[in-house]
Symmetry: D2
Subunit: 355 residues, 4 copies
C-alpha cells in the first residue's frame, strides 16, 4: 500500500535516495527458468544515465547494476530478483544550501510537510534518480515480452515548440542515431539546437515522448478499473515531471465525430483505422498500442530564483550543481520501461485468470 | 487483483451488468460513526442518469440506490457499505441483433476474445452503466471531504470544437444552470446547438471535462508510484470513453521554459502561480488541484456502419436503441466521483505516515 | 486492505450484518465460461443453515442465495459474481436487552471500542451469520476444483471430550449420515448425547473439525510468506470461534524426532508417510492435504451471566434468543468452503509461475 | 501478490537465498521521524544467528545488517527502509551432493516441480536463513511498539516431551539466562540435556514457543477475514518448520463448556479470566495477547537416509554439513519478530481507518 511498489504479479518494490547508498529494487513474480541477458539491462541503464553527452548533466554515474538474488546459473529461479545500483558521484556539499529552503516546483516543501523532515540531499527519494530501478525492472519485462514477439518504439516527438509530425513505429537505430532520440534527423537537429540555446540561457524546456508497441498480446487489461490504458496512464504519470498522458486519438478525439473516430473492422478481425490505440473497452485487441506522454521543463534552472526558507522568509536561490536543460531524451528508456512493466504484468494477470 | 476494485483503504468493489439484475458495489474502509446524507447520493445519481433531457438517451432508469449493509441508525458502522441500483428499463430484445456481430470501437470483440463468450446485452459489464457504482462511492467520499472543507467544481469545458476559455472554479449553480453543464451561458448555448446538430445527423461528438478542487488537504499522495496525480490519472482513464488526462499545466507545459513554469513561493508558503496543479513531487501542497479529461465521441451512432460477424463475415450494423449524441455532460458527476474517491482514499492513507 | 476481502485472484469481498438486509458478497476472479451448478451451492448453504435439527438453533432461515451479476446463460462471464442471502427471520426485539451491555466473550465491547458505536442487533457484522458468504464462494471454488479431480472430506472429529480416533478420508454419505457430521456412527452417537446433555444444562461445548483433501494439484503455495498452510491457517482462524489450527503432524510433531518424522520418498515420487500433510516448504506435493481446526464453546449460553454495562456497571445478562449448544457440526461446510477458496486461489496464482 | 511480502501498511518484501549474495528486504510504511536504535536490531539478529553455542550449527555467520535506504541523520524518513545481510560462510561444495537428489521432508522436490529447476545450494530460497529479514523488520516494529508501551515475552515452552508448565510473562533476563531460552532453570536444564542426547544420536527434535504480549493497544484487528489472531496465525505458520498455532485457550477450549470458557467482565472493563487471549471477535481488547507455536523436528539429520534422485532412482543420502539438533531456541526471536510485524501493521491500519 505505501506507494513504492508497482504491479500485481510482476511487481517492483523500489528503494533508495539520490545521495544515499544507492537505488535498488526487488522484483517479485519473475517467472522461473528464463535466461536473462544482463547486458541488455545495462544497455538501458546506459541510455538513461547522466553524462551521456554535452546535452545532459555532467553528474557522471556509471550506474552499474548488481544483482542480489533470484538468479542461479544465469536463469531466473522464480524467487524475488533484488538489485542495487550504488551511488558514486554524490557530492553532498553541493546541496547543503537547499537544506533550509524550498526549491520552487520541487518536492522539497511537500516532503517536509508530509514527513516532518526530509533528506535534502539532491531531492532524496523525490529525485528522478529513483527511475533507475524502473529501468532495470522494465528491461527484464522487455526480455519476456520480446520472447512473445512484442517490440517497442519509444522516441521524443516534441521539445519545446519543435514537433515531429509522424507517429510511426521507428526502429531503434533511427531513434538512437542522435542525442535527442528523435528518429527524424532534421527534427532532431532542430531539437538539439533548441536545447543548446536553452542550456546557454541557464533555462530548461519540456517535451513529449511517444511510445508505439507492435504485436502486443491480445486480451491484456482488466475491466473495469484496471483497464490497460488506465494502468499505462498511471505508470507514465508516476514518472517525474510528467504532466499528461493520452493514448490512441487522445485529446484530438474531443473534436471528432463518432462516424470518423470508429475503427471499422476488416475481415481478418483487425481494424481499418486505429484511433482506439490498440485498446477497446480497456482490453488490447492486438493492434499497435500507442500513447504520448507530456513532460514539463525540469524545475532546476541555472538562474537565480526567488524562494522561501523553512520559516517563510524570502531568499534568493543561487544556481548550482549540474543539471539537464532537457531531460526528455533521457526519459525515453524510462517510459519504455514502465510500458513494458505494465504490459508484462497484465500478461501474467491474464494468464492467471484463465480456466 | 482482478480489476473491479478501486482504492486501498476506502475501496469500492463494483459489480453488475447493463442488462442483468442491477449495478452495485461494496465499499470497504468507510470510517465509522459518520451520518450519511442519502439524498445527496441520490442527487448525484440523478445527475448521471439517462433521460434527463432531450439531449440524452431516452433509456429511462430511475436509478434508485438501495443500501444493503454498513449503516445503522443512519450512521456508518465501519463495516462494508454494500448497495445496488436495480436495472429496470432493460429491453433485451433491442440488443439481439448484436449477438453475433461486433460493434466497431466497442468492447464486444475484446471481451469475447478475453473470456471466450460475452454477455452481449447492451455491452454487459463493459457498459457505461457500470459507472453508477462509482457515483455512489464518490458521493460518499465527497461527504467526508466536505467535512474537511474540500469543494469540487467539475464542468464541461469542451464539446467538439466549442471550447470554454476559462479554467476557474465555478459554483454548482452555474454548472447546473444548463443541460451541458458548462458554466458559461454563451458557450453552453453553442455546445447545446452543436449536440442537437450532431444528434440530427445520427452521429456523436467528443468533449472534455475540467475538475477544480478547492482547499484540498496537504500531503496527499504517496511516493513514488502512487503519486496523487498518477492515481487521479488512472481513475479518470478507467472511465468509459476517456482518451487522455492532464493536470496543472498539462500538455501546454511541453512548450514552456522552466523559468516560466516554476511556481515561485510567497511568504505564506503558497505559490504565486499554480502550474503544478496543486501537486508537487506527487504530493498535494494545499493549492487548488485541477485537471482535465478528454472523452472520445461514443461509438454507438445512429447511422448504418460496416462491421464483421463472429466468423469474420462483413455485415451492416443498423442503428437502433437509444443513445446519447454526447455523453460528456452526464460524465461530469462520474469524473467528480472518481476524484473524490481518490482524494479520500489518499487522505486515509496519509494518516499512517508520521509517528 | 480493510479486512472484508479474502483471496488475491479468486477474491471474495463479503458484506452484511446479522439483522440488516442480508449477507452477501462479490467474488472477483471467477474464470469465465464455467457452467455453475446452483443447486450444489444451495446444498452447502443448507448444510450450514440454522434450524436443521433439534440440535441447532431454531432461528429458521431459508438462506436462499440470489445471484446479482456475473452469470449469463448459466455460465460465468469472467466478471464479478455478486450475490445476496436476505435475512428473513430476524426478530430484532430479542436483542434490545444487549443494547447497553456487553456479552462476555463476544465482540460487543471490542466493536464498540473500535468503531465508537455498534449495530447491537444479534452481533451485527461480528455474527457468525457472515459465514454464509464464505459458503457460497467456497461452493463455487469447489466446483472448479472438482473439475481438477480434487475432493474434500470434512468432518467433526471431536466434541468436548468425545474424540474420533481416525483421520482417514471419509465419503460424504458417511459424514452426512448423522446430525453431528462425524463419520463414525458410534462416536457420533456419543457426540449427540453429549450435545443434548449440554443443551439441557443451557450450556455450550467446543469441538474440532478435520479436513482431508484428496488429489490436490501439486505446486500450490507461494514462498515465503504465502505458504499454502499459512493461508489455510489464516482462513480457518478467521472463522468465528476458532482457537487453533494444525496441519499434518501438527502439535504432535513437537515430541517427535526427525528420523521418525521425515517422510521418505518412494520411487514414484510419493512419500511413504505423510507427516508433512501434503505440504513441503509451503508448497503442495500432491499427497493428501489434511489439517485440524479447534472451536471453542460458543459464548452465548442459556444461563444467567454477570456482565457490565456501557458505563462499567455490573449487570446480570439473562439468557434469551435461540442458540446452538454446539456449532461445530454446522461449521463443517464453512471449514470446507474456506479450504476450497484457498486452494483454488492458490491454483490460479500458480499459473503465472513458470515461463 | 507473489508471496515474498508481508503486511499492508508496514510491509516487508524480503529477498535472498541461503548461498547467494545475501538475505535482505525492503520495508515500506515505516512512519517518518523515528530515531531507530540500530544496536537493538543487531541484538535480535545475534539471538537468531547460528553458532551461538555448542547446541547450534557451527555455520558461523556474523549476520551484520547493512541499511541501504530510508534513514537520514539516524531517523526514518518515511521512505522504504532497505537492508541486506551478506552471506559469508557459505561453502557451496558442501551441498553439491544434493544437486540431483531430493532431501526427505525438505522443499527440494516441491521447488523443483513448481519452478522447473532449483537453486540447490543449501535450500536456496527455502532455507530458514530467509528469516533474517523478518528479524530485522520485527526489530524495527518492536521499537515503535515499545514507544506505545507494548512488551513481549517469547520463550521455549517445550522441547520433545519436556514441557514447561507455566504460561506467564517472563522477563528477558530469565529467558536469555540459558541456551534453550526457557525461563525456568530446571526445565531448561532438562531441555539442554535432551538436545545434547538427540545431537549425539545425529537426530533432531521438535518444540514449541509461547509468546505473551503485555499492554497491547486495543482495537487491533480487522473484521472479518483479517482478524488479529488470523494474521498472527498466518505469520507464525509462514515460519519454516511450524506445524500448528493456537491462541488463548487454543486446542484445550475444545473440551471446555461455555460457562467455564467465557471471560466475565470486571467493572474496569477488563476480564476476570483471559481464555480469549486478549482477542474478541478478532479485535484486541487490551488484555495480554498470548499464543503458542508448534515446530516439527528439522528435516536434516546426521544419519544416512533413503531418498530418490531426480529420475526416481533410490539413493542413500549421507549426512553432512552443519545442522542444529533443535532450532527452536533460535526461533524465539523469529516468532517475536513476526508478532511485532503483525501488531504494528494492525496498529497502523487501525489508525488509517479512523475518522
Amino acid at each position: 500500500m505505501p506507494g513504492s511498489g508497482y504491479g500485481t504479479i510482476f511487481r517492483l518494490t523500489s528503494f533508495g535516495e539520490s545521495h544515499g547508498v544507492g537505488i535498488g529494487g526487488v522484483i517479485e513474480g519473475v517467472p522461473a527458468g528464463f535466461k536473462l541477458d544482463l547486458d541488455l539491462i545495462q544497455k538501458d541503464l546506459d541510455r538513461r544515465r547522466p553524462g551521456q553527452s554535452h546535452l545532459t548533466t555532467s553528474r557522471n554515474e556509471e550506474d552499474k547494476v548488481e544483482f542480489l538474488s533470484g538468479l542461479f546459473e544465469g536463469k531466473t529461479t522464480g524467487t524475488p530478483v533484488a538489485f542495487i545500483i550504488r551511488n558514486k558521484d554524490h557530492r553532498s556539499a553541493d546541496y547543503s544550501s537547499i537544506k533550509d529552503s524550498f526549491r520552487p516546483s520541487h518536492a522539497d516543501k511537500t516532503y517536509e510537510e508530509k514527513y516532518g523532515f526530509r533528506d535534502y540531499r539532491g531531492g532524496g527519494r523525490s529525485s528522478a534518480r529513483e527511475t533507475i530501478a524502473r529501468v532495470v525492472a522494465g528491461a527484464i519485462a522487455k526480455q519476456f515480452l520480446s520472447d512473445l514477439g512484442v517490440s517497442f518504439s519509444t522516441y521524443v516527438d516534441q521539445i519545446g515548440n519543435v514537433k515531429l509530425n509522424d507517429s510511426s513505429f521507428f526502429i531503434a537505430e533511427a531513434i538512437e542515431a542522435n542525442l535527442v532520440r528523435c528518429p527524424d534527423a532534421e527534427t532532431a537537429a532542430k531539437m538539439e539546437e533548441l536545447i543548446e540555446k536553452i542550456q546557454k540561457e541557464g533555462d530548461t524546456v519540456g517535451g513529449a515522448i511517444r511510445c508505439v508497441v507492435m504485436h502486443p498480446p491480445k486480451s491484456l487489461g482488466e475491466p473495469v478499473f484496471d483497464k490497460l490504458h488506465a494502468e499505462l496512464g498511471k505508470a507514465m504519470l508516476s514518472i517525474n515531471a510528467v504532466k499528461g498522458f493520452e493514448f490512441g486519438s487522445g485529446f484530438e478525439s474531443v473534436a471528432m465525430k463518432g462516424s470518423e473516430h470508429n475503427d471499422l473492422f476488416m475481415e481478418d478481425g483487425n481494424t481499418q483505422t486505429n484511433h482506439s490505440g490498440g485498446i477497446q473497452g480497456g482490453i488490447s485487441n492486438g493492434m499497435p498500442i500507442y500513447f504520448r506522454v507530456a513532460f514539463k521543463p525540469v524545475a532546476t534552472i541555472m538562474q537565480p530564483q526567488e524562494t522561501v526558507g523553512r520559516d517563510g522568509q524570502k531568499m534568493i536561490l543561487k544556481p548550482q550543481g549540474r543539471h539537464d536543460a532537457c531531460v526528455v531524451p533521457r526519459a525515453v528508456p524510462i517510459v519504455e520501461a514502465m510500458a513494458a512493466m505494465v504490459l508484462f504484468d497484465m500478461y501474467l494477470r491474464t494468464k492467471a485468470n484463465q480456466w
